[in-house]
C-alpha cells in the first residue's frame, strides 16, 4: 500500500512542476503589462512598480525567484488590489468555496449513490429507468442553466428560498449546493449502478443470498463496498469539476468565494492573482486525485494484495 502511495506521489510531482512552469510563462507572455491599462503612469513610477514586483529582472530569474517564494508558501502580491497578497485573497475566498464544494459533494453522493443502488437492484424495470432518465437529464442540464431555473422556480415563483448570498440568511446555501451537486449526482448514479450491477452478479453474492440473508444485509454489508469503488475513483476528477463549477455557481448566486475571485481576476487581468490561484487550485486538484486513487485502491482487495506485501 505504501509503495502504491509513494509511487503515485512521485507521479504527482512532475505534474505540479509542469503546472507551475506553464502557468508562469503563459502569464508572462500575455500581451500588455499589468500597469498599462489604467491611467498612464510616469516612467519612474512604472520602473519603481516593476522593481517592486520584480518585473525588471530577466525572465528566468523571475521564474526561479517565484519558485523560491512558492516553496515558502508565498504567492506574491495582487496587482489589482495593492497592499493585499494573493495568500490573503485565497484565505478569504477558499473556505467559502470549500464549504460549497463539500455540500455539493454530499448532495451528489447521497442522491446519486442512492439512485444508483436502487436502479441496480431491479435492472430494466421502472425502478431502473426512472432514476437513470433523471440522471441523463442531470448530465445534459449544465449548472449555468439549472441554477437560474432553480432560482426562478424556488426563489421567485414559489418564494421558498433566498436566491443569493452565502450564510447571510438561513437557507441561502441550499440552492447553490444543489445546483453544483446535481450534475455529479447524475454521474455518480450511473457509475454506482454499473458498479453495483457488476458486484451483484458475483458468486459470493449468490452465496450470501443462498444463505438466506435479507436483502438489506446483502446490499449494505456485501455489495456496497465493492460496488462503490468506481464512484470513489470518480471523486478525484469530480473535484476538479466542482472547482470549475464553483466559478459559475458563485457567479450566479453572488457568493464571495475563490471561484468568483478567479473569474474576476481573469476579467481584470490580475496576473499574480491568476497565477497564484491557478497554482493553488491545480496543486489541490492533483492531490485530491491522488487521494481518491489511494482510497479506491484501498477499497479494492486485489490491488491491496498486490501492493500490500511490500
Amino acid at each position: 500500500m505504501w509503495r502504491f502511495i509513494s509511487l503515485r506521489l512521485l507521479q504527482a510531482i512532475p505534474v505540479i512542476l509542469v503546472v507551475i512552469t506553464v502557468t508562469f510563462f503563459l502569464v508572462r507572455i500575455a500581451p500588455g503589462g499589468p500597469f498599462d491599462s489604467e491611467k498612464p503612469v510616469t516612467r519612474e513610477v512604472k520602473a519603481a512598480l516593476e522593481a517592486q514586483y520584480k518585473l525588471d529582472l530577466p525572465l528566468f530569474q523571475q521564474y526561479t525567484s517565484y519558485l523560491g517564494d512558492l516553496a515558502h508558501g508565498n504567492l506574491g502580491p495582487s496587482f489589482k488590489y495593492p497592499g493585499r497578497s494573493v495568500n490573503e485573497l485565497i484565505a478569504a475566498g477558499f473556505p467559502v468555496t470549500a464549504e460549497l464544494g463539500l455540500y455539493a459533494l454530499l448532495v451528489a453522493l447521497c442522491i446519486g449513490g442512492l439512485a444508483g443502488v436502487i436502479a441496480a437492484l431491479k435492472p430494466n424495470t421502472a425502478q431502473d429507468y426512472i432514476p437513470m432518465s433523471l440522471a441523463m437529464i442531470g448530465i445534459c442540464m449544465p449548472s449555468f442553466l439549472l441554477g437560474p431555473l432553480l432560482v426562478l422556480v424556488f426563489g421567485i415563483y414559489l418564494d421558498w428560498l433566498p436566491v443569493s448570498g452565502w450564510g447571510d440568511i438561513p437557507g441561502d446555501k441550499i440552492l447553490p449546493s444543489i445546483t453544483l451537486g446535481a450534475g455529479y449526482a447524475a454521474y455518480i448514479a450511473r457509475l454506482g449502478r454499473a458498479g453495483m450491477l457488476e458486484v451483484l452478479s458475483q458468486d459470493y453474492i449468490r452465496t450470501a443470498r443462498a444463505k438466506g440473508l435479507p436483502q438489506w444485509q446483502v446490499v449494505l454489508k456485501h455489495s456496497l463496498r465493492g460496488g462503490l469503488i468506481p464512484v470513489v475513483a470518480f471523486l478525484g476528477p469530480a473535484f476538479a469539476g466542482l472547482i470549475a463549477g464553483s466559478f459559475v455557481v458563485e457567479t450566479i448566486f453572488q457568493i464571495p468565494g475563490l471561484g468568483r475571485f478567479y473569474v474576476q481576476a481573469a476579467f481584470n487581468r490580475d496576473y499574480t492573482m491568476i497565477l497564484g490561484t491557478t497554482v493553488f487550485l491545480s496543486v489541490l486538484i492533483v492531490l485530491f486525485n491522488l487521494l481518491s486513487d489511494v482510497l479506491a485502491a484501498w477499497m479494492n482487495p486485489r490491488l491491496r494484495a498486490q501492493f500490500g506485501s511490500h
Binding site: Q11, A12, P14, V15, V18, V19, V22, T23, L26, V27, I29, A30, P31, M136, I137, I139, C140, M141, P142, F144, L145, G147, P148, L149, V151, L152, I156, A240, G241, I243, A244, F247, V248, T251, I252, Y262, V263, A266, F267, R269, I274, T278, L281, S282, I285, V286, N289
Partner: protein, 295 residues
C-alpha cells in the same frame, strides 16, 4: 501492389457487413434514432439559417422591446426587440460549429498521437503516453480560463484550446486499438510486404479502429459544446456581436424574472442538442459493441 488491392477488397467486404449490422442494431434503439433525427434537423437548420431565419440577425425593434411568444415572433423577443428564434438559430450555428470543429481538432491530434505511440511502441510509446498522463492530471478548465486571459477572447483560440484539451482520451483509445491490431496477421502480412508505416497506419490501422473512435467522437461533441457554453456564460467565450447558446442563456439569466422565455428557449435548444448527442453516442456504443469508450 496487387496483393494490397486484394487485401483492401477483403477488408471492404467485411467492413460493409459490420457497418450494416451496426446500423441495423442502432435503428432498433428508439432513443438513439430520435437523437440522430433531432441532430440532423438542428444541423440542417444551422446550415440554412441565413436563408430561413424569420428576421435578419441585426434586425431590432426598440419600441417593441421584450415581448412574449406571439404569432409574429414565435419565441418572443429580447429587450432590444430582437427576434429570439433568429438569435437562437444564429447562436446554434456557432455552438454547433465550435462543437464540431474543436472535436475535429481533438480527433486529428489524438488519433495521430495514439496511432504513432501504439505503432512505434517501446521507449517512444512510454514517453508519449507518460506525457498524456501528465496532461491528463492538469486541471484544464482552469487552464482554458487562463488561456482566454493570455490570448484574448477570440473564437479560433477557443477552438484550439478546447481541441487541445479533448484529444487525450482519443489518444489513449487509439493507442490501445493499434497495439492489439499490430499483433494480428493481416498487419504482419502488410509489414512483410513492405508497406510504409504511414500507409499502414492510414490504410489499415485507423480504419480498423474506427468503431471506438466514432463512439468517442460522438460523446466528445457534447462535452465541447458544454465547455463553450460554460465559457460564454462567464463572458470569457463567444463575444458580441456574435452569439451562441451559452451567451443567450447568460443574457436570459440576467432578465429571467421579467422575461423567463429568454432563458428557457435557449436552454431548451442546448439541452436538447446535448441529449441527442448523448443518446446517439450511447446507442452507437451498444450498436458497435465498444466497451469503456465513455470513461
Amino acid at each position: 501492389m496487387t496483393t494490397q488491392t486484394i487485401n483492401d477488397i477483403d477488408q471492404a467486404e467485411q467492413g460493409t457487413s459490420l457497418w450494416k449490422d451496426a446500423w441495423r442494431r442502432l435503428r432498433k434503439n428508439h432513443l438513439a434514432v430520435f437523437g440522430l433525427i433531432l441532430l440532423v434537423l438542428f444541423i440542417v437548420i444551422a446550415l440554412l439559417t441565413p436563408w430561413i431565419a424569420p428576421y435578419s440577425y441585426q434586425a431590432q425593434d426598440l419600441e417593441l422591446g421584450a415581448s412574449p411568444p406571439s404569432a409574429a415572433h414565435w419565441l418572443g423577443t429580447d429587450i432590444f426587440g430582437r427576434d429570439l428564434l433568429t438569435q437562437i438559430m444564429y447562436g446554434g450555428r456557432i455552438s454547433l460549429a465550435v462543437g464540431f470543429v474543436a472535436t475535429a481538432v481533438a480527433l486529428l491530434i489524438g488519433v495521430t498521437w495514439g496511432a504513432i505511440a501504439g505503432y512505434v511502441g517501446g521507449r517512444a510509446d512510454a514517453v508519449m503516453m507518460r506525457l498524456v498522463d501528465i496532461l491528463y492530471a492538469l486541471p484544464f478548465m482552469i487552464f482554458i480560463v487562463l488561456l482566454t486571459v493570455v490570448f484574448g477572447r477570440n473564437m479560433l483560440l477557443l477552438f484550439l484550446a478546447i481541441g487541445a484539451v479533448e484529444w487525450l482520451t482519443m489518444a489513449r483509445i487509439m493507442r490501445g486499438q493499434v497495439q492489439s491490431l499490430r499483433q494480428q496477421e493481416f498487419v504482419e502480412a502488410a509489414i512483410s510486404l513492405g508497406l510504409s508505416p504511414t500507409t499502414l497506419i492510414r490504410r489499415h490501422l485507423v480504419p480498423n479502429a474506427l468503431g471506438p473512435i466514432i463512439v468517442y467522437t460522438t460523446l466528445t461533441i457534447p462535452n465541447v459544446m458544454l465547455l463553450e457554453a460554460f465559457l460564454s456564460f462567464l463572458g470569457l467565450g463567444i463575444q458580441p456581436p456574435q452569439t451562441s447558446w451559452g451567451l443567450l442563456i447568460s443574457y436570459g439569466a440576467e432578465s429571467m424574472e421579467e422575461f423567463p422565455w429568454l432563458l428557457i428557449f435557449p436552454g431548451l435548444a442546448l439541452t436538447l442538442t446535448l441529449f441527442s448527442l448523448n443518446f446517439l453516442g450511447d446507442g452507437l456504443r451498444d450498436a458497435l459493441d465498444v466497451r469503456g469508450a465513455k470513461d
